[in-house]
Each structure stands twice: as C-alpha cells, then as structure tokens.
C-alpha cells in the first residue's frame, strides 16, 4: 500500500483559509504589478518595491500561518522545521546587506 498508513484524523490537513489568503495575496501582487507597469517613470521606483515586497512576503505569510496551525495542533517537529526555514530566509536578508 505504497508505504502509507492512515493517521487518526486526516481531515485536519485541510486548508480553506490558506487558499483564501493566497487568492488575496495574488490579487494584491497583480494589482501592484499592473500599477508599476503603467505608472509614470517617476512612480515606478515607489510602487515597484511594494510589488517585490508582496512577492517576498506572501510565501512568508503562508509559512507563518502553517507555523501557527501546526503549533496549535501539536505538530511540533514540522513547526520547528518552519522556524529553521524562516531563519535561513532571514540569513538572505543579512547576506543582501
């Protein structure tokens, strides 16, 4: 059976709120991208960084949502994995500067 064993309550893995968050993030990123593409040159450098920030922060927000959810449900091993991943991503900030 493919090496898989069924857990007690597999339904706790479903993520409707996360899907809604992702739709909203996508809408915001797309709106900022359209604005950056059509705005006058003087505004591009003001709006562009916000577009990039949304593209960077949306996946981070997804991780934070998963971190809170898994911590609440006692899935500590993978909550710690998220913390390690966030630390690696924070290292990129240090490297970038």
């Amino acid at each position: 059976m493919n090496g898989a064993t069924v857990p007690e309550d597999p339904r706790v893995g479903r993520q409707r709120v996360l899907a809604t968050y992702l739709w909203v993030s996508l809408g915001v990123a797309l709106s900022l991208a359209v604005l950056t593409a059509v705005a006058p040159d003087a505004w591009t450098d003001d709006i562009g960084p916000w577009m990039v920030a949304v593209l960077i922060l949306a996946p981070v927000g997804r991780l934070v949502w998963l971190l809170i959810r898994w911590t609440k449900r006692g899935d500590r091993r993978y909550a710690i994995a998220i913390l390690v991943l966030l630390a690696v991503m924070a290292t990129a900030l240090v490297v970038a500067h």
Binding site: V12, G13, A33, P49, V52, P59
Partner: protein, 247 residues
C-alpha cells in the same frame, strides 16, 4: 524556467535576466497556489523540510552569481536549459496506484508525517515520501542552480520528488510549485538588496507570469501533461543549444 535563457538569447545581461526570472517564478508559484491548496495537492510538511536546504543553496547561488564572470553564467544557463529539456522529456508515468481501502476523507497531507493521499477521479491514491536525506541533498543543488541562473528549479525538484522520493507526480508538481515560490522569495531578498531588480520590466514579467499561470492551470485540464512536457522540452532544447553556441 524558459524566461532567463530566452532573455539571454536576445542579448540581455544574465545579471539583469536572473532577477526577472526569479520574479516570474515567484509570480507563477503564487498564481498556481490557491487552486493547488484547495485541491489538497500540496504537501506542506514535505515542502518545508526540503526547502530548508534549497533556500540555503539559493542564497549561496545568488551570492556566487554576483561574483562569477558573465560567460560562465551564460554557459550555465545553456546547460540548465538542456537539463530541463532532458528532465521534462524523459519523465515517467504513474508509480503510485489507487487503494480500495482508502476513502475520499483521507485525501490531503497527513499531520505529523511525510505521507498523504490524493484524489484521482473516484479513486484515492495514498503515498509516502522516501529517501528524505537524498532528497535534501538534491534540493541543495536545485537551490544553488536557482540562485545562480534565476530559474525556479522546479525542473529538478519535481523529478527529485517523483522519481527519487516516490511522491506521485501531481503532488510532486504542486509541492515543488510551493517550494520554488519560497526559493524565489529567498533569492529575491538577495537580488532586491543588491539593487538588481528592474521594477518596470519586472512588473511586466509578473503580470505575464500570473496571467500565464492562471491560463496554464485551466489548460492543464484539457491538454495531456506529456504533450505539454514534450513541446516545452523541444523549445528548451533549441534555446539551450542557441545559448551555448552564442555563449
């Protein structure tokens, strides 16, 4: 995967093309995410575990890209395009099979494990990720390539998940889409910090990637995956050869 080699073919500096490629990866990953999460295809625990080494590799790659000569980056892009063509062209079919004892209730990732199940029509197909240490090592390589070349690395990650770790292709594709978004996010932090992002061109790329991602997700249902993979492999093969010949 194809944007950066194409930009290099038309004469764009690889150092400028790489951030644009990463922007397109981040946007395309974002466009695909809501649908894939809604269908329960993404295995977040597996993705997070593997992404630790991939993101570390992406940081190393992005820093190295700044230090390497342009000719080396161009050659690397050519090799990456050829490797992607090969990976897409040779990908296999279905390994995990439906299990009669599993109901639709168990579809999705299973808490506390690197196991899960997904629905394929009326059937439920359980799976379990294998060879995790090897997968972590392969993801480091995928991350380095992403940071160096400005590509998503999905052409490495999806085969690693499906062929090496025995994750079903549909779950592997959705999980690697999640992880390439994170790798792109990490590489983008470095590129933005280095002042290498052209916002106007980047915005056009993001709009195109989102629109393309949404259309692609719709087309996915009507076009056979093998058909799409083979045509993409042909395009990448041509681009890879042109990049290598010109470089």
């Amino acid at each position: 995967m194809i944007l950066v080699p194409l930009l290099v073919v038309v004469g764009v500096d690889p150092l400028v093309a790489a951030p644009l490629g990463i922007l397109s990866v981040a946007a395309a990953s974002m466009a695909a995410a809501p649908g894939q999460v809604g269908e329960g295809l993404v295995h977040h625990r597996l993705g997070v575990t593997l992404e630790i080494t991939a993101s570390a590799g992406a940081i190393a790659g992005a820093v190295l890209a700044d230090a390497l000569p342009e000719s080396v980056l161009v050659r690397l892009l050519g090799v990456v395009a050829l490797a992607a063509a090969l990976g897409g062209g040779l990908r296999k079919g279905m390994r995990n099979r439906p299990e009669a004892g599993f109901s639709a209730d168990v579809a999705g990732e299973w808490p506390g494990t690197l196991q899960g199940a997904y629905r394929l029509g009326e059937d439920v197909i359980p799976y379990a990720a294998r060879r995790v240490p090897l997968g972590l090592a392969a993801m480091t390589v995928a991350g380095i390539v992403s940071g160096l070349a400005g590509v998503g690395g999905g052409f490495i990650k999806t085969p690693v998940l499906s062929e090496l770790m025995h994750v079903p292709v549909k779950v592997a594709a959705a999980t690697s889409t999640f992880t390439v978004g994170l790798t792109a996010s990490t590489a983008l932090i470095v590129f933005a910090g280095q002042g290498r992002v052209d916002y106007r061109a980047g915005a056009v790329v993001v709009v195109a990637a989102v629109v393309g991602g949404v259309i692609g997700a719709r087309l996915q249902g009507s076009l056979a995956p093998q058909f799409v993979r083979r045509w993409l492999a042909v395009v990448l093969l041509v681009v890879g050869v042109v990049v290598l010949v010109r470089g």
